[in-house]
């Protein structure tokens, strides 16, 4: 209840998306509306090809909608911007920079007006919260996939965005590092107290991370159900995966997706 009272961070206003010509039209989705409130962690879960990534690309400003509009804090999205951080599935960590230099990257741009000490504090803060302090001078080629994704998350937050958009960031990781990355992400988003839009096809990941889950169906993509998880605003550890309500919810969503 409290969450809905806050102003919306991102708003999809009856957005439609289609490819191709008039005659041979492929509709990804039509008339889709969705609101993400401030400091809310929203997860979109759905099968492949249901337009989840398109939705994220619209929010990030990589693509423009065919109909309707996407608003960030009431303003229409026009291209990518520093207010929306993105973590990509392919680790988009810059391979020629060390871990520290990667996290510093957004702070050394022309648009950033912090002084040297402030920059240093920010970098130190994210090196520690993501557990990368011991690897600060390593090059990405020496890091595992999970470590690279930590760098990407730290770099995204160093730019101080209002919302973090994540497109299946852990899809390429093995089960074990996936689990620990979910915990790292959970911890850091609670600390940051900022909104997040996370896309996944793993129902378990969705329940573990989300305050609110959007279940999407296929072709054209529709929102099947919106679920407020029972774990919202609570401290989570890996134990909650074994709770009966977790398993019940998981069964429910998986059945929804099968239909």
């Amino acid at each position: 209840m409290k969450l809905e009272a806050l102003p919306p961070q991102i708003e999809f206003c009856s957005v439609g998306m289609e490819y191709g010509t008039e005659k041979n039209k492929h509709v990804v989705f039509e008339n889709l509306s969705l609101t993400i409130s401030e400091n809310e962690f929203v997860v979109i879960v759905g099968g492949s090809g249901c337009g989840k990534t398109t939705l994220l690309n619209l929010a990030a400003g990589f693509t423009k909608p065919s109909h309707g509009s996407v608003l960030v804090k009431g303003k229409k999205v026009n291209g990518a911007g520093r207010d929306r951080g993105v973590v990509f599935q392919q680790y988009a960590v810059f391979p020629w920079l060390t871990v520290r230099q990667n996290i510093e990257f957004p702070l050394n741009l022309e648009c950033c007006e912090l002084d040297v000490n402030e920059k240093k504090d920010i970098v130190e803060h994210y090196l520690i919260t993501t557990g990368l302090k011991n690897f600060e001078n390593s090059l990405p080629k020496a890091l595992s996939g999970g470590m690279k994704q930590r760098v990407a998350i730290a770099r995204a937050y160093a730019a101080n965005p209002q919302i973090l958009l994540m497109d299946e960031p852990f899809a390429a990781l093995d089960a074990q590092s996936r689990g620990s990355m979910q915990e790292v992400l959970q911890k850091i988003t609670v600390e940051e107290n900022k909104a997040a839009l996370f896309i996944t096809h793993s129902v378990e990941e969705a329940i573990f991370l989300a305050d609110r889950i959007i279940v999407m169906g296929n072709q054209p993509a529709v929102i099947k159900e919106i679920i407020n998880t029972p774990f919202a605003n609570k401290k989570r550890n890996t134990e909650i995966r074994l709770l009966p309500e977790f398993i019940e919810l998981r069964r429910h969503i998986e059945n929804q997706l099968k239909k």
């Binding site: 951080g85 993105v86 988009a92 741009l109 022309e110 090059l139």
Partner: protein
């Protein structure tokens, strides 16, 4: 039936230890050793005409003689100088052109066919025209090398810019990077490994073109050495000239790949 001392396993083991004894340089030297051994065998078998193919040691003696007596070192230096000047100018010119062709699709569509047809023209075929326009001086010789270096590195630069992964550009934009910064901070670092590739390819092409460039009445230069030796039927001197080109090209290539290993240490290269 099997001899316990000469079974396959034993032979493989001895052989692999023998190989381990050689390090990388040792193995590379082994390649030369095999080459010269075959040369000696062919020479002593009498299968090749001894007037036309000297023994490798005769070439070495002649090489030392030419270095000390007939100023071969000046020929070598002036050739190296020509190659370096031609290579630098050609590559510097190819950078903005290759980038423009790949980054702006309209420019690419307009000029790519034209450039590809020019690329097919061999520098040697251009030398008569070069004489007409630029005479037979140093400018003419260098311009042929510039031409060769420009077109050979252009392809590499063009392909490298086209192959830059969109995800890095997107990641940079999302962090608030301006367009001018994207070029400086994303495109340039991603291009550097390919610059080394372009440099190596162009270097090879330039050495290959050198003889053609020095056909234009050069007084000094390894190409001129080979030309003159051919005219006066000094067979061993031809081999000396060829040997020098091979040795200098090998050295320059080794320096470049060493520098590449240091500068682009961030690249994830597979050791096989």
């Amino acid at each position: 039936m099997q001899n316990p001392f000469f079974n396959n396993k034993k032979i493989i083991e001895i052989f692999s230890q023998f190989l381990l004894f050689f390090n990388r340089i040792g193995i590379a030297l082994l390649g030369f050793f095999i080459f010269f051994s075959i040369w000696y065998i062919l020479w002593s078998s009498g299968l090749v005409h001894r007037e036309l193919v000297p023994r490798p040691d005769q070439i070495i003696v002649q090489l030392i003689h030419n270095f000390t007596e007939s100023g071969l070192v000046w020929d070598l230096l002036s050739s190296v100088q020509r190659v370096i000047i031609g290579l630098s100018i050609g590559m510097i010119l190819s950078l903005p052109v290759g980038f423009a062709l790949a980054w702006y699709p309209k420019i690419g569509l307009m000029f790519k066919p034209l450039i590809n047809s020019f690329r097919a023209l061999p520098p040697i075929a251009l030398s008569p025209l070069v004489i007409v326009f630029l005479g037979i001086g140093e400018v003419a010789r260098t311009s042929i090398l510039i031409y060769a270096a420009f077109f050979s590195s252009l392809v590499v630069i063009y392909e490298a810019v086209s192959a830059i992964e969109e995800v890095y550009i997107r990641a940079a934009r999302v962090l608030g990077t301006k367009e001018s910064e994207i070029f400086r901070k994303i495109v340039v670092p991603l291009l550097i490994p390919n610059l080394f590739v372009a440099l190596r390819i162009s270097l090879g092409v330039c050495w290959g073109t050198l003889v053609a460039a020095e056909l234009l009445a050069a007084e000094r230069g390894l190409g001129a050495v080979i030309q003159n030796a051919g005219n006066y039927f000094k067979i061993t001197d031809i081999y000396v000239g060829l040997f020098c080109i091979g040795a200098v090209a090998l050295t320059m290539d080794a320096i470049i790949s060493k520098a590449m290993g240091i500068v682009v240490n961030w690249q994830d290269r597979v050791e096989r």
